[in-house]
Symmetry: C2
């Protein structure tokens, strides 16, 4: 394993760290924009860099279908293919196999599925295959294949899926090819069950990974249940390795998770919202389709220094969105990504200055007052 | 009238010039990207600037409906609204009123029409109204309202429309408010009829404008008919004012028109093509949906220095397009605009060096050989 992680400072449970990869360092807590099919939707890589992002997430499910993994490998890997020279984390494809594919059947060996993305061809993904594809993509952080079940699920079903995921984690680790600046993360499962989460964390720690993800959350459960799960899962993970809460979340989710010791996040929210007229601002969320913004000459967020807020009014953005102009989605997505990165920067600074709690309280107060 | 135009050099009939506006100078021959609804589709203004464009065209039809003209005026004009600090030319709205609106009725006074863009509301546009709207938009170059008829048309119909357009040109000029760095262009009409074109040119010259457009061409007639019209229309226009061929065109159209003394162009081709997988390259046009580009690691155009060609392969662009990713349209549009501006730069340089004919022949040879 060859990813170096330094825990620089701790403010109660909130952690400031630095993760070194072959494609640059990542300051944690970090937010990873989602670049599903080798593009962060509506943004050039230059635009994404301007937001401050140091690492992207790519979706192995989308990148492996229709011969894409082979093509990307031929083209020199995902960084070169998409012109992104900073770090990339890829998921294992498991989550999308189970949520997006037309048919899927999980066995001890792996998952069989069909996908409309390549005309309904049949695929079989095993832990070994997922790791091999992520290697082809040249991903800096490879994720283990795991089985993601829907909540709520019976304890029996949750136990079975967690235990299968742990066997797959071992096979994933064994299949991973070590290189300097590249690493593999295990994923804890076990739903909202403390006993299962702790068992999962213990098994993963025994196998040994470069980082530990918390999977199977943010799938519809109330926020307090997610936080409770973090309350007992984080302390069960090695202190000297990064912790990644998959698929999370809103600014408030992120603040609550950092408070509980999480270091990394990814979510489609800033990008997806950018294509549906929604903006994240220091004063809360806003929908640019609301009539009140039609003639509003102020910037989206007067506290924001992004390209969108420096140059455009709410009235102009509302005009673009009402006219179905692509530039509207480009500018809004850019702002949302910048907002998330600015939040992470504020979080990191506050941990360094040992006032994370004040930062969090003050952010939430502004963000939630209407 | 307050636009300064300097004719710097002539190479046979091809002209090198410079047009000064309140928002910067325009080197001619110039190509104006189309920014229909206060945005060049899929591009930020920064991206458009990187292509070298010094002036954009805005469509008054789209900008006047749904209360937009008032909004844009309140927001400080079109430049500020859309964050474009270089020059802007607006058309009169006439062409779109007659080609896009649901119903339209031309009278001596103006045109009545309905538009789906604001829920079928009824509008009445007169020359005075069009000029006033363009003033509200703060357009550097205002165009006269004219009547655009479809080709082929009878001589009688062409004559009637041309003569009406000349009366409207006078009314447009009278309604125009002079300001430093702002001007108004007349538009010759008369279809493919020499006598009518000359009469139109003569009437416009008598009224006196900052520039002279050739309208009613590039509406489906063969290229040689357009060129023949230019052959007799250009010499009938004042030598010391810019000439603008509206809605043109392909690279070969532009070369042939420059050869005949035209200075300015606009066309949706580079932007529209960019959203339909088509690229303009020094080796001719290509469609990125063709299977041959799926694994092609070379840039779109190895002679091009644009952001797209410097950073991305045909394989990546083909991947984006097949995945319906917005970035595909962004990168392709950017390249196409850069290609057009590079063509204009080459044209200007060749006129300066008195070898326009060689430049044209060599461009066409490469562009048309398969």
């Amino acid at each position: 394993m060859s990813l170096k992680f330094k825990l620089l400072q701790q403010n109660n449970k909130a952690r400031l760290g630095k993760l070194e990869t072959a494609h640059g360092a990542i300051d944690t807590p970090a937010f990873m924009p989602v670049g599903t099919v080798a593009t962060v939707k509506t943004q050039t890589p230059e635009m994404v860099k301007e937001t401050g992002a140091q690492i992207l997430l790519g979706n192995t499910y989308h990148l492996m279908l229709a011969g894409r993994a082979n093509l990307i490998e031929e083209c020199g890997g995902l960084h070169k293919f998409m012109n992104w020279d900073r770090a990339i984390l890829t998921d294992s494809g498991g989550f999308q196999v189970m949520s997006l594919s037309d048919l899927n059947k999980v066995t001890e060996e792996g998952v069989e599925f069909k996908s409309h993305l390549d005309g309904g061809a049949k695929h079989f993904v095993t832990p070994e295959k997922s790791i091999q594809i992520q290697h082809q993509l040249d991903s800096n952080i490879t994720m283990c294949l795991d089985e993601c079940i829907r909540l709520p699920a019976s304890k029996e079903e949750t136990t079975r899926a967690m235990q299968l995921s742990m066997r797959w984690a071992k096979r994933s680790k064994d299949a991973f090819i070590d290189r300097d600046g590249y690493g593999i993360f295990g994923i804890t499962q076990g739903g909202l069950d403390k006993e299962l989460r702790l068992e999962s964390a213990s098994k993963l720690t025994e196998i040994g990974f470069d980082g530990y993800a918390i999977g199977g959350l943010a799938v519809g459960e109330p926020q307090h249940e997610m936080f409770e799960t973090l309350d007992y899962t984080c302390p069960a993970l090695p202190e000297d390795k990064p912790r990644y809460l998959m698929g999370v979340g809103t600014p408030l989710d992120i603040l609550g998770a950092v408070e509980r010791g999480v270091d990394m996040f990814d979510c489609v929210m800033p990008t997806r919202s950018g294509r549906t007229a929604k903006a994240f601002t220091s004063q809360g969320e806003m929908n640019l389709r609301n009539a009140q913004y039609k003639a509003d000459q102020s910037p989206l967020d007067s506290e924001c220094q992004c390209m969108t807020c420096r140059n455009y009014s709410r009235a102009y953005l509302a005009h673009l969105i009402r006219s179905n102009e692509i530039l509207g989605a480009m500018l809004l997505t850019h702002h949302n990504l910048y907002f998330y990165q600015t939040l992470m920067k504020g979080i990191r600074q506050s941990i360094a200055e040992e006032n994370f709690q004040e930062f969090k309280d003050s952010f939430i107060q502004k963000y939630t007052k209407k």
